[in-house]
């Protein structure tokens, strides 16, 4: 083992051991086993947040379904902001990827005849969501992880936190990472780097996301000079448990659950989402898209038709009419979570729910092979923005997105790495700078100064205030001011923990800095988009404005650290912009 600044050199380095990262690693191992691949992850791969996904993964397989219909649902779901070439590639390859997972042992739920079962999902006109009971992400992630173990040639750096991308002359050459167990800070060089670092729900106070979802990859890319795309689109999931923010999967509604207000009324019928029917109707009512359902909730609050709880207003999800048998076979985890965290049994009781921050449509801007504008840098999964999700992601599209674009990014990175030259020597000096920054500036700083937790709380509060389900110019501008102030103060956070080994305080400080950068991008994009589209609803600009805003917004980081927003066109192939219609 080398003890210098550079610890090891690889051909392709994958940052992230979630669905996207592992799929990329396996793709490379399969296309070119001679390439030297490594996966770096800040948690053990099977702890990645993909593990919490519940509902399912969409892929056309049923006889009555077609690729075009899945494309249309996705494009209209995205409020026409998704790039249609990417959507077409995604829809075409999703079934193959899901089948591949079937071959690797994923325990998909089955029909009595042994074929893979599919369920309905929000915003989808056909049943096409593959599921493994309601622990789909868990089973997918463990299947991927265990399959990756077969490829013993893939090196893993578990519990290593990447703090910086090494860039020279517009090309990425590796990363600097902290080994959490030892505290050792060293560079891992590579000809290509793939980011699969997941989402950033933790910039908000109330989220379904795990503690690790701090948007590190987006911040790494942003600082290295790659732009972030469509950052203003933050998905609120309509059904999270109050207090914890634990998600009650959309599958609960797909299986027939109802959303009711304090009068027991299925209020979605008042918001142009169709008429209530006893059994679920596709693309209607409870199976409408997430943006519209979350917005309906806010209107119910305004009308005073929600229930007050210690954790703010809530509505109820009613599963009682589904019966114990269906709940236990199709939604066992929902029951487990309700019993454990709310001490209620959904077989007999109503589940209290409220909208909760769930998913980032935006991310590191990539082309349809996962390549970012920065040579040698690739991204896939929630951290990337290809974009297939546009202004609103449909439930069950993101797991297959991790697979499809994880594999594509992996293959593209492999190809690039095969042709790339040697790592230049300047990289070592850069790595040395980063090591010094972490060791002297941060670790050597000592206690006192600002508290990480307090700054984080203030950031989250500001984001909830400014970038909620409904937004206005002035509130976003005010939020941006608060962020600017927090940016100043974050330079003074104190570190009481001087230990090298498993220093989670150091991590929290680095994650906070990442989240502040991303929060800023979200608000800066949001301010620029003077219209309402999908998840970005501005009460000061309530209408969609295709004239001015049928375009992506890209946030670049200027050399002085400020954000510059510019535009890039949306690719339209076969589905010209139209009205989003649900329930009619």
């Amino acid at each position: 083992m080398s003890d210098g600044v550079i610890r090891a050199a690889h051909d392709v380095l994958i940052v992230g051991g979630g669905g996207a990262g592992l799929r990329a690693a396996i793709a490379i191992a399969e296309v070119d086993p001679r390439l030297d691949v490594a996966v770096v992850s800040k948690v053990y791969p099977m702890r990645s947040h993909t593990v919490s996904a519940e509902g399912g993964a969409a892929g056309v397989i049923a006889a009555d379904d077609s690729l075009d219909e899945h494309c249309y649902d996705t494009v209209s779901g995205s409020d026409w902001l998704g790039d249609q070439d990417a959507v077409e590639a995604f829809v075409r390859e999703a079934p193959e990827e899901l089948l591949r997972l079937e071959h690797w042992g994923c325990p998909w739920s089955r029909r009595p005849d042994g074929r893979v079962a599919v369920r309905a999902f929000g915003g989808m006109k056909k049943k096409r969501t593959w599921f493994a009971a309601d622990k789909t992400g868990f089973h997918m992630l463990h299947t991927l992880f265990q399959t990756s173990l077969k490829h013993g040639e893939v090196t893993r750096y578990d519990e290593e936190f990447v703090t910086r991308l090494l860039v020279d002359d517009g090309r990425v050459h590796g990363v600097v990472a902290i080994g959490l167990l030892t505290g050792r800070i060293q560079a891992l060089t590579a000809k290509a780097v793939v980011l699969g670092t997941g989402g950033c729900g933790k910039v908000f106070p109330f989220t379904t996301n795990a503690n690790i979802n701090t948007g590190d990859g987006m911040a790494l890319a942003y600082r290295a000079g790659a732009p972030l795309k469509d950052m203003e689109f933050v998905q609120y999931h309509p059904t999270g448990l109050p207090f914890t923010g634990i998600l009650i999967t959309e599958a609960a509604r797909a299986e027939g659950g109802w959303l009711i207000n304090k009068d027991g009324y299925r209020y979605l019928q008042d918001y142009d989402l169709g008429r209530p029917t006893p059994t679920p109707e596709l693309r209607s009512m409870e199976l409408g898209p997430r943006d519209r359902l979350s917005q309906a909730f806010v209107h119910e609050v305004e009308k005073g038709r929600t229930v007050d709880s210690p954790y703010g207003p809530i509505v109820h999800l009613d599963l009682r009419h589904l019966g114990a048998k269906l709940i236990d076979t199709k939604l066992p985890f929902v029951r487990e979570l309700c019993l454990k965290y709310e001490r209620i049994d959904p077989v007999h009781e109503l589940i209290p729910v409220r909208p909760v921050v769930h998913y980032m449509m935006g991310g590191v801007s990539t082309d349809i092979d996962g390549a970012t504008p920065l040579a040698g840098l690739y991204a896939a999964g929630e951290t990337a923005c290809v974009s297939i999700n546009g202004a609103n992601r449909l439930g069950s599209n993101s797991l297959p997105e991790c697979l499809v674009f994880g594999a594509r990014a992996g293959r593209a990175a492999a190809e690039y790495a095969s042709a790339a030259g040697r790592t230049p020597a300047v990289v070592e000096a850069q790595a040395g700078d980063e090591v010094r920054r972490l060791e002297q500036d941060l670790l050597g700083r000592g206690p006192g100064g600002e508290s990480i937790a307090a700054l984080r709380d203030q950031m989250q509060a500001a984001m909830e205030e400014a970038a909620g389900i409904f937004r206005t110019g002035p509130t976003m501008a005010k939020g941006a001011d608060t962020l600017a102030e927090l940016q100043e103060r974050v330079g003074n956070v104190g570190l009481a923990d001087t230990s090298r080994s498993f220093n989670t305080e150091l991590l929290a400080a680095l994650e906070l800095a990442n989240m502040l950068d991303i929060s800023e991008c979200i608000l800066q994009s949001g301010l620029q988009r003077e219209e309402s589209r999908g998840a970005h609803q501005r009460t000061d600009f309530p209408a969609r404005d295709d004239e001015r805003f049928l375009t992506h917004l890209l946030v670049h980081r200027e050399s002085d650290g400020t954000a510059r927003v510019d535009r890039s066109p949306v690719t339209i192939t076969r589905w010209p912009p139209g009205e989003r219609v649900y329930g009619r």
């Binding site: 702890r47 919490s52 042992g105 089955r110 005849d113 937790a453 009481a496 230990s499 080994s501 989670t504």
Partner: protein, 249 residues
């Protein structure tokens, strides 16, 4: 209900401490707070140097296992109110080397897991590469292995198993349960290969059926059952090989 509860937390900093010692913190006792919420309160408000792992806070990522009042538990699924009036002792998972405070070293398990080949093995190699058709699997065939596929690798079973504590060579409950999971999968043909690994001296026969692994498993995987069934399977195979010396292979 009292409004606060005392946590007795094991601290160990390798740079300065020769061995772990106790530190006590009082945290608010709220009905929806888990032990993990208590620890986070300490981390955020009281003592930022306390170190522990957690992520999903919904009992699925498997990272927050610790010994709470002597029992291996997921701290995100263990409520403070169930341990009132306290004090609640919080220690790193038993049977593992301690890295720091409540963080243990899992390298041993991570090295063992690939040994049991927890992936689909099938002589037709294309099965794992070409996504042409789906392989049929009836709900009954799925049920046969489903329970053993629920393992979140939380390591509570290793912390509870005295055999593992005494002999860290023992491959251990979760790894064997995962081997069983693939053996029972109708798409797999790797039984023989895994058997060869698991009949070794540190394999299934190291287990003396203490059964604690199953008792503490938060996901009802029942590794104890997996192991005993494996023993029987291995014995039957051996008898078969003995009776039909060549034919069986």
């Amino acid at each position: 209900m009292a409004d606060s509860i005392r946590l007795r937390v094991s601290r160990y900093r390798p740079d300065t401490d020769p061995e772990p010692h106790w530190q006590e913190y009082d945290v608010p006792l709220r009905k929806e707070w888990t032990v993990l919420d208590g620890l986070n309160h300490v981390k955020n408000e009281v003592d930022t140097t306390l170190s522990f792992r957690w992520s999903c806070r919904m009992g699925i990522c498997g990272s927050c296992g610790m010994n709470v009042d002597g029992e291996p538990r997921l701290t995100c699924a263990t409520f403070l109110s169930d341990h009132a009036p306290g004090p609640v002792t919080v220690e790193p998972l038993a049977n593992f080397p301690v890295v720091r405070d409540l963080v243990v070293d899992l390298s041993d398990f991570m090295a063992k897991l690939p040994r049991v080949k927890p992936w689909i093995i099938h002589p037709d190699d294309h099965r794992t590469v070409e996504p042409d058709v789906e392989y049929l699997q009836t709900p009954e065939q799925l049920d046969a292995y489903k329970q053993f596929s629920m393992c979140i690798n939380c390591m509570l079973c290793y912390a509870a198993c005295p055999v593992y504590g005494l002999d860290p060579e023992f491959i251990g409950p979760a790894a064997i349960a995962l081997a069983e999971r693939y053996d029972l999968d109708s798409r797999d043909r790797g039984e023989r290969e895994r058997l060869d690994v698991l009949v070794e001296h540190d394999g299934v026969y190291g287990c003396t059926f203490v059964g604690e692994c199953t008792r503490v498993c938060p996901k009802h995987v029942d590794p104890a059952a997996a192991i005993q069934r494996y023993k029987l399977k291995a014995a039957m195979e051996t008898v078969k090989a003995f009776l039909l010396p060549r034919g069986a292979r």
